[in-house]
């Protein structure tokens, strides 16, 4: 296939060797191949916490983001007055780097931040949202920040996908008695399937990769697997364990991606 060859060549040339050496590193030790790195990884007090947090975050966040992004896309499609302005503002978080995003939300949730400022000004007691011993509010903070930062990605993909769905189909559904939810469920979503699949795969894989926001907000108190990878690599300077962690992230990501591909398999192959 002439069309995909350049991308394969490109990716292989660039990532082939680094990938191989990265993966080998996970099994590398002072004396040949070993699984010691995985053992060390698993024994680290932060490891299981980080796995748990990552999974919890993803399981809670992805549905929220998809519902929100879909709602946003549908709102935009309904063309309310000022929709182009809305659209612009809703796409803005895309432009904000993780670091900056973490920073803003830190100023919101920190003890003397905006949220507590609001509470204080209405006479309520400020609350330590990010305190290590307050897992729920910490999780909420990370969740809100991540939802804010990354929903736009799904939103933009869905908007682009919605563009290619002819209005006919929804109109037909309406005529045949489908109300709003029926139309959404039986017509719009199935027709949007390719975009949703793409967004889901990308979003999940990228979600496995995020940690900067959580790090900024909660430090080491809400560890995420990739954050741990960084910590092992740069902080603890143990590239082997870091690679092992990376492999875990990759394995989980790939399993999810395969799952999505299978789950959302297109039966009609040629929908139009």
């Amino acid at each position: 296939m002439l069309l995909i060859a350049p991308s394969i060549v490109f990716m292989t040339l660039l990532f082939g060797w680094p990938m191989v050496s990265g993966i080998l590193q996970a099994f590398g030790g002072p004396e040949g191949l070993t699984t010691a790195n995985f053992t060390r990884m698993a024994q680290d007090p932060y490891f299981w916490a980080s796995v748990g947090n990552t999974l919890l975050l993803i399981v809670v966040m992805i549905p929220i983001q998809f519902v929100l992004a879909l709602a946003m896309a549908l709102l935009i499609r309904a063309k309310p007055r000022g929709s182009s302005v809305y659209f612009y503002i809703w796409a803005i978080p895309l432009a904000v780097s993780d670091l900056a995003a973490g920073l803003v939300w830190l100023t919101v949730f920190t003890d003397r931040g905006y949220l507590n400022s609001v509470l204080a000004s209405v006479g309520l007691e400020p609350f330590s949202w990010l305190a290590y011993d307050n897992y729920a509010s910490m999780f909420m903070a990370v969740l809100i920040a991540e939802v804010w930062r990354a929903t736009s990605l799904v939103f933009v993909i869905v908007v682009a996908g919605l563009q290619s769905i002819p209005k006919d189909y929804e109109e037909a559904a309406g005529v045949f008695g489908a109300g709003f939810w029926d139309r959404l469920w039986h017509v719009t979503l199935p027709l949007l399937r390719p975009s949703l699949q793409t967004a889901l795969i990308l979003r999940t894989i990228l979600a496995f990769q995020t940690f900067a926001v959580a790090l900024a907000l909660t430090g080491q108190n809400f560890p995420l697997v990739v954050g741990e990878t960084y910590r092992w690599y740069t902080g603890l300077q143990d590239a082997n364990v870091a690679s092992a962690l990376a492999l875990v992230v990759m394995a989980v990501s790939m399993v999810t991606a395969v799952g999505y591909l299978k789950l959302l398999k297109d039966q009609s192959e040629a929908p139009r």
């Binding site: 002819p166 006919d168 189909y169 109109e171 037909a172 559904a173 309406g174 005529v175 045949f176 008695g177 489908a178 109300g179 029926d182 039986h186 017509v187 199935p190 027709l191 399937r193 009609s268 040629a270 929908p271 139009r272």
Partner: protein, 362 residues
Amino acid sequence: MADISIKGLKKTYPGSTELATNNVSLDVAEGEFMVLLGPSGCGKTTLLRMVAGLDFPDEGSISIGGRDVTYLPPQDRNLSMVFQSYAVFPHRKVRTNIAFGLVMKKVPREELEKKVAWAADLLQLTPYLDRYPAQLSGGQRQRVAVARAIVMDADVLLMDEPLSNLDALLRLDFRAELKKIVQQLGSTTLYVTHDQVEAMSLSDRVAVMKKGQIAQLGHPITVYEEPADRFVGGFIGSPPMNFLEGRVTQQGALEVAGQSTEAPEFLARSAARSGGLPVMVGIRAENIYLEDRGTPGTLDATVEVVEPLGHATLLTVDLGGQTIKVQVASTVRVSSGEKVGLRFDQAAIRFFDTETQLGLTA
């Protein structure tokens, strides 16, 4: 119960300056089969869309079964529709496409399956029930759209050129079935077609539209035989009505193409009053008979083109500089260049005002 009453509908599409429908009023009785006819772009689809609730009018109102539905969303109108573009769902197999409306209505599974099987059989779709629309031919796709609409037993059935891509035979079969179905269910039907045979054979009444307005509304034969104006006469019929410039003299003679015959009395009278009256004479191709030249009461003409159509032969004839079409039985053998005499069936001649183009009647 489900009569449709349309009042003064006006609609301009956003971004367009023309009125897509211009003050359309139309009453369709319960169970009536109304056919909409009209040139491409005259606003038929637009009218249907407003009845369906897919577009809202700028002005005017629509009520179905006495209930005003002008701004009601489509799903609350209990109607079904065949879209001109079919709009079959690409992601659903033929079976579930046909069943769509029934599923929405939460029809029990058994009944649903029975209905789908019935419609598929009627439209010869049974072998294709498990295909996706992309794997069908154009006509098959259109039939899916039709099947989806007729299983609905809706109060109002809207069909926008539902048979345009089907062959004559299938059409014939389906037409007969449709008429039965509609009668059984008592659905009020609005049916857009370009096929005049269809219009004539199916409809209780036809509405001929022109530039967003209704030009004539009536029984199909009336519309065919007594077009309200020149437009309708020229639009309906294949070939359309012939028009000849003529003149009724003060003496009551009708002069056409340099030859003269007798004018009907009501025209003679008004011509007598006004001192001569220019008129447009309309006559259909099948109401002109070929005779030998010189037979009394005939007009001299020359055959220009002979087109055998199978069931008949169509002649293009020069009559004193004006070209008209004449249809004769396919057994008649003439050749181009032949000089012939034409006899007009006097009862079938129609007269139109040369200025307003409106039909002149007694």
